[in-house]
Amino acid sequence: MKTLIVVPAFNEQDSIASVISDLKKHGYKEILVVDDGSTDLTKLISQKEKVKVVNHIVNRGLGAALGTGFEYARKNNFQAVVTFDSDGQHKAESLKALLDPIAKNLADVVIGSRLLKNLSEMPKDRLVISYLGNILTYILYGFISTDSQSGLRAFNKKAINCITIKTDRMEVSSEFLKEIKRNKLRYKEVPIKPIYTEYSRASGQSNINSFNVALKMFLRLFR
């Protein structure tokens, strides 16, 4: 199965090399780093690691970077896409379980949920935000997920072709679920064990930013 690993990255010079080498070590060769207008060495380091790099000339946000990854996958005829965080939160060893339902044609979209197992390891503030995200996603889009804000996702070709990403920033996580429902895609969750470090916590969705994300999701309904 021709699988593209999309790694959206914005100013991740400290973690990007280890993320790429972890993926390569586990046999994933088709890696696309979407450098989202980084002002540090993210692009150079990625190029040195000999992976494909596409560069946004200005920072457009997570949703925009993932949208570029999807567009690249469509143009280059990939059969599956995995979205993988660049802050070192995800482990490449989780991908086997994530891609398994896609390879066996049991699901169109698989999300790696941090809240199916090992709940005690998740920082409390992140746990609360994740639950609030899940509740909001259910209220706004009627979609039940145990981890609506997870960044580790796998999509098959059908999903790649029919999902349309319109949001540019962090709201994209919930938008994926909205699109799954709209397109009646088969959805599955697998448990993952994320690595929480000070670095990955600082570079992800901040707690204050979560309010902004929620507001944008709400306002989108009235467009």
């Binding site: 790099v53 200005v58 946000g61 925009a64 570029t68 690249y72 306002l219």
Partner: protein
């Protein structure tokens, strides 16, 4: 007629003239021309005949005409702010599409050079 009424009417006529000029030069659409014209003409009518707004306010169950004008203005302003928010979001998304196109084109040309 009070001085404030004269000043407001002069300003509103100026605003209306801008709407007409923008429409003539093709910068705004017919629907937008209609919306802004109705808004400014209504404002001129309200400033010229303030007593009429009190009659209308009484029909709607509001005490004073000026209260009706304030309520209507706030609602209109909120709506316009929301429209501007939507417009800015659309513009941002268009910038994203442009940035994406440039990013993918650069990659494509690099591949063809190889």
């Amino acid at each position: 007629m009070l001085i404030i009424q004269i000043l407001l009417i002069v300003f509103l006529i100026f605003a209306l003239s801008r709407v007409v000029l923008r429409f003539r030069s093709g910068q705004i659409k017919a629907t937008e021309f209609f919306f802004w014209s109705v808004l400014f003409i209504s404002a001129i009518a309200v400033v010229t005949f303030p007593q009429e707004t009190t009659n209308l306010a009484n029909i709607l169950g509001i005490g004073r005409g000026v209260d009706l004008v304030v309520y209507a203005s706030i609602v209109t302003l909120f709506y316009l702010v929301f429209r501007i928010y939507v417009m800015i979001e659309d513009l941002r998304h268009e910038i994203t599409l442009l940035v994406r196109k440039i990013a993918l084109r650069q990659t494509q040309s690099k591949l063809s050079l190889k």
